[in-house]
């Protein structure tokens, strides 16, 4: 399956892009996606362990299962105001 991955702020700087498509094995979770990105995308090897992930615009746990077409966002620690 394929998901759409978004990068913001510092993680966009690390990834060198704001967005990419990622091919994942069946049964993949958020954790699978993060580890794949870490190994496949130059710059993301430095992604910290505490990376926050949102799936379809909701904060998501590491074991959240992913589905075809999901929007997966990698977020540095946040804060408006």
């Amino acid at each position: 399956m394929r998901v759409r991955v978004l990068f913001f702020a510092l993680y966009r700087d690390l990834a060198g892009t704001s967005e990419l498509e990622l091919e994942l094995p069946a049964g993949a979770t958020v954790e699978t996606a993060v580890e794949l990105l870490r190994s496949q995308v130059k710059g993301l090897a430095r992604l910290p362990r505490e990376v926050v992930v949102a799936v379809n615009r909701e904060y998501a746990a590491r074991d959240t299962p992913l589905a075809e077409g999901d929007e997966v966002a990698l977020l540095p620690p946040v804060g408006g105001g």
Binding site: L6, F8, A9, A61, P65, A73, G79, G80
Partner: protein, 151 residues
């Protein structure tokens, strides 16, 4: 009247936000403005660039305001967050609430700004007079402990 929340790249107008709240049964109106400061951690700031995951920030901001409405006891809440490049003295966020009594207004207004700082997917890149820029450290938002197995 209902809860109103939005994200904008335009300068904020406090009067417009205030005009979104108020009702004949309300005795208290509160307006909070968050402003870009000229100094942070001892460094002289020129501007802050606010980056956002806009679609999600809109959703989270609406969720925060709905939670605040539960505390406030009214739906008379307006919250706007500005993004893009803001100079010193410009407002990044404006929150207006109104309710029959003041205690709930103070509580709800404070709740909204605290949750905006804790949960809103927005990031700040501070730019200094010496030409340097850096992303400010944010906070780790509350994330569900488990995705709960197959969906």
């Amino acid at each position: 009247m209902t809860v109103r929340t939005w994200i904008t790249t335009e300068p904020l107008d406090p009067a417009q936000v205030l005009a979104c709240v108020g009702a004949p049964e309300d005795g208290a109106v509160l307006l909070f403005l968050g402003i870009v400061r000229e100094e942070n951690e001892g460094r002289r700031v020129v501007s802050i660039r606010y980056d956002a995951y806009v679609a999600m920030a809109e959703r989270v901001l609406a969720e925060v305001a709905r939670e605040a409405a539960g505390r406030l006891g009214t739906e008379r809440i307006a919250v706007v967050h500005r993004i893009g490049e803001l100079g010193v003295g410009e407002a990044s966020v404006a929150i207006a609430v109104s309710s029959p009594h003041r205690a709930e207004a103070f509580d709800a207004c404070r709740y909204i700004i605290e949750e905006i700082k804790r949960r809103l997917p927005i990031w700040k890149e501070e730019r200094y007079v010496d030409g340097e820029a850096r992303w400010l450290a944010g906070s780790v938002p509350p994330v569900p402990a488990s995705g709960g197995g197959a969906s």
